[in-house]
């Protein structure tokens, strides 16, 4: 007799879990029917546009919107600032205007008069000396253990280096924004968000209404990457203007404003001293790093450096720089990509100094990785090396060929905590056998709908089409925000629990009706209820025993019952070429071997990895925010000059999911963050391998590569 406990099916028995299953919302997206926030266009919708600061720093002396209010079509005006307020970065919001037509709002904004008292600014975030001179630095602590000084004295090899990662913007292709419509005292908000359940209150409080009067809806979201957890001041402004105008208003950030205020990832620049014994084992790490998270200072968390290694003697100190630039927001796996690029580049240079191969050096130091995953990393390294043909292609740094185009290999590894996030869901099993689920989660492109449907369909032995997933509304049972790779574990754990609970109740009814001695001997498979291999009844017949009312079961999580887990890792290896005459870096092949526990949908999992590799190539080779030291402006805040890879700019990408039974048995762990962590270090190491020169700061634009080859300090 089977025990009634929450568990995933035995791996060999799965019909859906772990297979390649196309996402359920694919048809809506591929046919243009999916309605994103910017697509909401209810009758009478007004269009809102923004006036933003052209100054990096100043005090507002005058704002005059009288003329703007009289312009044709204008229905509402909102002031984000008043006279006397400070402006702290270029792009900060000043005024919003809602009009009947978008171009009328633009015309009206031209009539707004703003005068500033200009103040000094600072945006030179990589320059710690100038930042100190401008009194923009602040010590943010130190993280140390062991005796670094003593370890350095006895080390066989010591390497000192400088490395860095520039600030990037989230650059969501669907910008931040909302469509707000009042229906009496109730506010309906369509919000481009990663946080459906958590944003209603963020609207209600500043509007002075009850959260119960707010409904937040997000059926589809065009990219967030950690930047869309909030209602935001422009969202609240949209609601206020809708109230003032008595009409629905849509306010989406324009592209430049999206780049300037929609979220950035902090920069990090580090001076490192790292040392190893003669065997190649790292014995000491000593670093000081700086960077900016915007006006508030901040930067890359000192407590996680070095990453993901815990060397026996280490010291890391951090200085934050306050810059007149837009605020940071969580960017996919914060701040692991920077930590990885600041650590494993220095390690790779140390390996070269030891005259050890990168592979052997990293393998030697796996014992120092966090979370006790050395064996998993070793297995993943072996798989990745085979996939990229490391053994045949490897050469010592600087021996990448005789011509101007040099070829090289690089590797890096990563970890992420993840775990299951909070989720409540309600599932209904209807007497006709149909199944539906309700939860206030969101599918931000990661396949949340699909993995929930797989979970329920597998549980009930039904085809995917037999399950309907309803999400994207704050009126459904609350579910956590989608950030930190905790959604899949959260929602699928809760649904498996609810599903099994419902199934057991149905089994009890079947056992009673069909005189089965033990309800626990029953299984649901292929649309039938079976006892052993013998069919007892169909699923529909079983559900008809419910009577007229659907069976409703609540699912909750997270729980420590083995359905979900945390902690994942992966290894990435890249094969690339560097043109030493043009500075152009070209990826030939990029391999990621990734573990993430039990995989519900292999197709979607690989898709996440491949997408992460592209984002990694972007911040490694081309993507960065460029601030102008003379004007304090973000000078490449458009898609022509904010350089993202195009479809011809990436090489062959290979995603290999590492899932032996030991991983399957761990339960579900999320995957969104981890594969985006290691590309920076891996690509940097491959460039160093190709050329014998370390290009210190990512992204490796042709200029940075050529400067490094000429010996110019970054």
């Amino acid at each position: 007799m089977a025990e009634r406990k929450f568990a995933w099916p035995a791996r060999a028995e799965n019909t859906l879990i772990g297979k390649d299953i196309p996402r359920l919302d694919g048809v809506a997206k591929a046919s243009g029917q999916a309605k994103y926030t910017a697509d909401i266009n209810t009758a009478g919708t007004l269009f809102a546009k923004l006036l933003t600061s052209t100054l990096a720093a100043g005090k507002i002396k005058k704002i005059d919107v009288d003329a703007a209010k009289k312009m044709p079509g204008v229905k509402a005006v909102h002031l984000f600032k008043k006279v006397g307020d400070d402006v702290r970065w270029e792009g900060e919001l000043i005024v919003a205007i809602a009009a009947e037509r978008a171009e009328q709002a633009d015309d009206a904004l031209k009539q707004v008069q703003v005068e500033y008292e200009v103040q000094p600014f600072f945006v030179d975030e990589a320059n710690i000396v100038r930042a100190a001179q401008a009194d923009r630095t602040k010590g943010l602590g130190k993280n140390a253990k062991g005796d670094v000084e003593a370890a350095l004295k006895t080390a066989a090899v010591v390497h000192r280096g400088y490395y860095g990662v520039a600030t990037i913007s989230h650059m969501c292709l669907e910008p931040h924004g909302s469509h707000c419509e009042w229906k009496g005292d109730d506010l309906d908000v369509h919000l481009s968000t990663q946080n459906v359940s958590g944003t209603a209150g963020q609207f209600a409080e500043p509007l002075g209404i009850d959260a119960a009067n707010v409904t937040v809806t997000s059926d589809y979201e065009g990219g967030g990457f950690g930047s869309k957890f909030q209602a935001d001041e422009w969202g609240v402004a949209c609601a206020k203007m809708a109230k003032e105008a008595g009409k629905p208003v849509r306010l989406m950030l324009d592209r430049a404003t999206e780049l300037k205020v929609g979220g950035t990832r902090p920069s990090g620049y580090v001076d490192v001293t790292i040392a190893a014994n003669a065997d190649g084992e790292v014995v000491a790490w000593d670093s000081i790093h700086w960077g900016t998270a915007g006006f508030g200072g901040g930067g890359v968390d000192v407590n996680q450096l070095p990453y993901p290694f815990d060397f026996p003697n280490r010291s890391a100190a951090q200085i934050g720089i306050s810059c007149n630039s837009g605020p940071n927001r969580a960017w996919r796996a914060p701040p692991h990509p920077q930590l990885c690029a600041m650590t494993q580049t220095a390690m790779d240079d140390l390996a070269a100094k030891l005259k050890m191969g990168s592979y052997e050096f990293f393998k030697k130091n796996l014992k120092h990785t966090l979370q006790n995953k050395a064996d998993v990393y070793a297995a993943e390294m072996e798989i990745a090396a085979k996939a990229i043909d490391w053994k045949a292609k490897w050469h010592p740094h600087g021996e990448g060929g005789k011509g101007p185009v040099k070829r090289g290999l690089g590797m890096a590894l990563h970890r992420w905590g993840g775990g299951a996030g909070p989720c409540t869901c309600t599932i209904k099993v209807h007497p006709d056998g149909s199944v539906e689920s309700f939860l206030g989660s969101q599918d931000i492109g990661t396949g949340t709908r699909t993995v929930i449907a797989i979970t329920l369909a597998e549980t009930f032995g039904l085809p995917l089409a037999g399950v309907k997933v309803n999400l994207g509304s704050s009126k459904y049972p609350p579910s956590g925000a989608s950030g930190g790779s905790i959604t899949v574990g959260g929602v699928c754990g809760a649904h498996r629990r609810a599903g099994q609970t419902a199934l057991w109740q149905i089994f009890d009814k079947v056992a009673e009706k069909y005189k089965i001695e033990s309800a626990d001997s029953l299984v649901a498979k292929g649309g039938d209820i079976l006892k052993g291999k013998e069919k007892v009844c169909t699923w529909k017949q079983a559900c008809s025993l419910l009577g007229q009312m659907p069976l409703e079961v609540k699912g909750e999580g997270p729980k420590k019952d083995g359905l979900t887990a945390d902690q994942v890792g992966g290894v990435q290896m890249v094969d690339l070429s560097v043109d030493t005459e043009t500075g152009l870096v070209r990826i030939h092949k990029f391999v990621c071997v990734q573990d993430c526990g039990l995989i519900l949908d292999e197709l979607t999992a690989r898709s996440q990895v491949l997408g992460a590799l592209i984002m990694g190539i972007a911040y490694s080779l081309s993507e960065e925010r460029i601030m102008d030291n003379k004007t304090g402006r973000y000078i490449n805040a458009d898609l022509q000059n904010y350089k993202l890879p195009r479809i011809g700019d990436v090489g062959e990408l290979v995603a290999i999911m590492y899932q032996p039974d030991s991983e399957y048995d761990r339960g579900v762990v999320g995957l969104g963050e981890p594969p985006v962590i290691a590309p920076g270090a891996a690509i940097s190491n491959a460039v160093a391998n190709a050329t014998g020169v370390r290009v210190p700061v990512l992204p490796f634009t042709p200029k940075r590569v050529l400067d490094a080859l000429k010996g110019v300090h970054a």
Partner: protein, 163 residues
């Protein structure tokens, strides 16, 4: 302010008249006037391709075309790609190859793919990467899009020619 103009076009096979101001883009007309919101606004200056539609069979960034310029034109948007009883092979290939994630760039990519396969029924991987260079994706991982187009071409070519 310039007077509004009446423009007559054919959109997805149906003759369509709309009223627009001379400065309104085709993208604004499609999305805000005709409620054809499949074409997305990503940048509004022709750099991302999210608003790609076909105008007289050629792909255009609809954010760079004025509504009045489409007088007499034949337009095709993502809403007109699928046959009544299912999906176009390109759309099906995007699904099967997981060539879409958040999906915001997908309509633009599919329209460009449609134009590519109309011009070149058997494109190489290089042909695809060259032709789709105007379409930007932030999260999908372009590789799957290339696979999807190769798949779609293969399936189309395997279909018997119409009698």
């Amino acid at each position: 302010m310039a007077k509004r103009r009446v423009v007559t076009t054919t959109i997805n096979g149906r003759q369509t008249e709309f009223l627009c101001e001379p400065r309104q883009t085709l993208l604004e007309v499609l999305r805000d006037t005709l409620d054809l919101t499949g074409a997305k606004e990503g940048c509004a200056n022709g750099n991302c391709g999210a608003c790609t539609v076909l105008m007289n069979g050629r792909p255009v960034d609809s954010c760079l075309v004025l509504g009045v310029e489409t007088e007499g034109a034949v337009l095709e948007t993502i809403e007109g790609v699928a046959p009544v009883d299912g999906l176009d092979p390109i759309q099906q290939a995007f699904l099967e190859n997981a060539a879409l994630q958040c999906g915001i760039c997908t309509p633009g990519f599919i329209m460009s793919c449609k134009s590519l396969l109309a011009e070149n029924s058997d494109p190489t991987e290089n042909d695809i990467r060259f032709y789709l260079a105007g379409n930007l994706c932030r999260c999908t991982g372009y590789d799957k899009i290339v696979r999807a187009v190769l798949d779609a071409a293969k399936k189309r070519n395997a279909e018997p020619a119409p009698a």
